[in-house]
């Protein structure tokens, strides 16, 4: 049977459809709650998927990822508090439009643009993933090493205030990944006599700690923040006039979002901000931006959802996460015994197509759920924080424990959370550390294999044109934050 049909049939199972629905509802809810984010929700949901088959498990996480990105726009529009970072730009025009009594129109525009972005990027995903995987099959360890170094260097331009801090956090993530028994020699590294560390530090507790516990400590300082909520919401689909006005902008943002998503480490937040800026740059009504213009909603929403499908391309085809959330999904794939990268497409193509099917279905589900339930989702911000965050901690604690039924992992989760809180305070994002942690093993393995291949002669790295290309791109991405202002000034 054709792998694509096989993959889609896997998703057509009623139980899988139910789990995708659950993923969408959880995703929209989490996305709509300020403080809770998609990576956090995916990390918290990971332990629930341990006992599931891989297809429904990953399908549910992928659905949550898509829906979480959209969910943020609901609160961005209705209470001017983006539920998730990718919805930051949506609030610029969404809230002013809602304030003048057009909340339903704003939500309709956001939902339809999000679906357009999501579906466009999934079409690209469908064609680009097999092609990229086929190309990557020719990669030997040196090419893989150069690729992972390039992916880590992209942390310099990931969203956040400081490229330097992102790189330091990424390098620390890789270093944490070296703890445990060295594969080549069997020597224990950084175990400090602790038996549990010989297996290395598990991904899942670290992810939960960094994304959930660190944010809990952060939120404990702002428990009494209240939001002014727009209550009268009747969601309307965009009118023909709205469509005529925004279709070019949506198409442009689809392209931008998908491209940004495919770049390693770049995520939906960068895509949304670029989508908004480009919408403004090309608009005939520049002066209306910030006052509630339809392009100001459609641009970022199409771009941030397009980034979700785009980010899955390097994640599945190369084993290199396209964003913070896909880094967590990559961890889930590893947890379920998969080897993300070109072999995934060669050995289990139906699995990749099943993920495509799940994400496509999720896009249409959140359109329905988002439109019908916007009013309900806007109310979830009324859940008292004094109840919400203890519940998050309970899930964090039990989730970390459930991973390998060890209290040690709960300590790892807590310590990661405390460190993550300090990191956030000093401008170090958790996403770069997670990416470093997940890529760490791949970097070391490919470096060791390359050194063995080259008889420890570093110079032989430069014999491969692909390696040279990736090293060139690495240099460019490292220098980009420094050079880009100079280049822009010259223009």
């Amino acid at each position: 049977m054709d792998p694509m049909i096989e993959g889609l049939l896997l998703i057509a199972d009623p139980f899988n459809i139910f789990l995708i629905f659950v993923g969408v509802v959880v995703g929209v809810t989490v996305g709509a709650l300020p403080g809770l984010s998609s990576p956090m929700a995916v990390a918290l949901l990971l332990p629930f998927t341990i006992s599931l088959e891989p297809v429904p498990a990953i399908a549910m996480l992928a659905a949550l990822y898509c829906a979480g990105t959209f969910g943020g726009s609901i609160t961005a529009i209705l209470i001017n508090a983006p539920g998730a970072p990718p919805a930051v730009a949506t609030a610029f025009d969404g809230y002013p439009m809602a304030k003048r009594g057009e909340a339903g129109r704003a939500l309709g525009l956001a939902a339809v643009s999000s679906v357009a972005g999501g579906v466009f990027s999934l079409v690209v995903f469908l064609f680009a993933t097999p092609l990229l995987a086929k190309l990557a099959l020719q990669f030997r360890p040196p090419e893989y090493f150069a690729l992972t170094v390039f992916a880590l260097s992209m942390l310099a331009s990931i969203s956040g205030r400081s490229s330097l801090r992102n790189l330091i956090a990424g390098a620390f993530g890789v270093l944490i990944g070296t703890a445990g028994i060295h594969l080549t020699t069997g020597v224990e590294r950084f175990t400090f006599g602790v038996y549990e560390l010989t297996e290395g530090i598990h991904f899942v507790p670290v992810l939960i700690g960094l994304f959930a516990v660190a944010e809990l400590l952060n939120q404990s300082q702002s428990l009494h923040v209240t939001y002014e909520r727009i209550t009268t919401v009747v969601v309307k689909l965009p009118s023909r006039e709205d469509f005529r006005r925004v279709w070019r902008c949506v198409l442009r943002s689809c392209g931008i979002g998908t491209f940004i998503g495919i770049l390693p480490a770049e995520g939906a937040t960068v895509a949304a901000i670029m989508g908004y800026n480009e919408a403004k740059r090309w608009s005939k009504y520049k002066e209306e931006f910030g006052t509630g213009t339809p392009e100001g909603i459609a641009g970022p929403e199409a771009a941030n959802n397009a980034a979700t499908g785009g980010a899955m391309v390097p994640t599945l085809a190369l084993g290199i996460p396209g964003s913070g959330t896909t880094a967590v999904i990559l961890a889930a794939l590893i947890m379920h015994g998969f080897r993300p990268g070109p072999y995934l497409m060669r050995e289990t193509p139906e699995f990749v197509y099943a993920i495509f099917g799940a994400m496509l279905l999720a896009n249409f589900m959140f359109l329905g759920i988002g439109l019908a339930g916007a009013k309900v989702f806007s109310r979830i911000t009324m859940i008292p924080r004094g109840i919400l965050w203890p519940a998050v901690f309970v899930f964090s604690m039990i989730g970390a424990y459930a991973y390998s039924s060890a209290v040690f992992d709960v300590w790892v989760m807590l310590i990661s959370g405390l460190v993550g809180f300090l990191m956030l305070r000093h401008g170090f994002g958790p996403a770069p550390l997670v990416m470093g942690l997940i890529l760490g093993k791949l970097v070391e393995e490919s470096l060791s294999q390359s050194m063995i291949m080259f008889d420890s002669n570093w110079l032989r790295f430069f014999e491969s044109p692909i390696v040279l290309m990736f090293f060139g791109l690495t240099l460019a991405s490292l220098l980009w934050p420094v050079l880009s202002p100079l280049l822009l000034r010259r223009k």
Binding site: F48, Q221, R425
Partner: protein, 190 residues
């Protein structure tokens, strides 16, 4: 040499605005951060010197300490730039002090300490009692006084989570000491 943050109230940096000529070369908070990270790197480097030695032939020219040391040196090089980064960020109008200008509120420290106590008590209390402790202690600490919300939460939520994980997801939880002891005592009383 001027140190950024020394002349501003609280010593937490100026935040990126103001006269460019008055910008100090070194950012005080980042300098401290840099020293802490370098100390950590030194400790980890020392750790790599204690890795078991293996023959070159066995290590195939890639000894176990090679990659961690490479990473430690990378972190050291990047970290040394931290105290000067504010000069570059200032030019790009990015405020690295935004989140740390205000001191951490005591409630965050108390919450962190409480979470440590909770995790330390898992082995003794068992998961169900620990979850109940979280559901009682955190809302109380955070002045959540709506009993109509808190009581059902304390009663229902831990029970639901325990059921979900132990029955549906088949996760084995160690019972701890307190609950079995209480049950035994109850049996004895009866």
């Amino acid at each position: 040499m001027k140190v950024h943050g020394e002349e501003t109230p609280g010593g937490r940096g100026g935040g990126g605005q103001g006269d460019a000529s008055s910008v100090p070369l070194v950012h005080a908070t980042d300098l401290k951060l840099c020293l802490i990270i370098l100390a950590g790197c030194a400790a980890l480097y020392l750790g790599t010197t204690r890795f078991e030695k293996v023959a070159d032939l066995f290590a195939q020219d890639v000894p176990p300490e090679f990659f961690p040391r490479l990473l430690i040196w990378t972190i050291v090089v990047l970290t040394v730039l931290l105290p000067f980064e504010h000069l570059y960020l200032r030019r790009r109008q990015k405020d690295i002090d935004k989140d740390r200008r205000k001191a951490v509120k005591p409630i965050a420290y108390i919450t962190g300490a409480l979470l440590c106590v909770v995790v330390a008590s898992i082995s003794v209390l068992g998961p169900w009692l620990t979850m109940t402790l979280v559901c009682v202690a955190l809302p109380t600490l955070w002045h959540e006084r709506r009993l109509k919300v808190v009581i059902p939460f304390v009663v229902i939520f831990p029970a639901l989570v325990t059921l979900l994980f132990s029955r549906v997801l088949a996760v084995h939880f160690e019972p701890g000491y307190v609950l079995p002891a209480l049950l035994e005592a109850w049996q004895w009383i009866r």
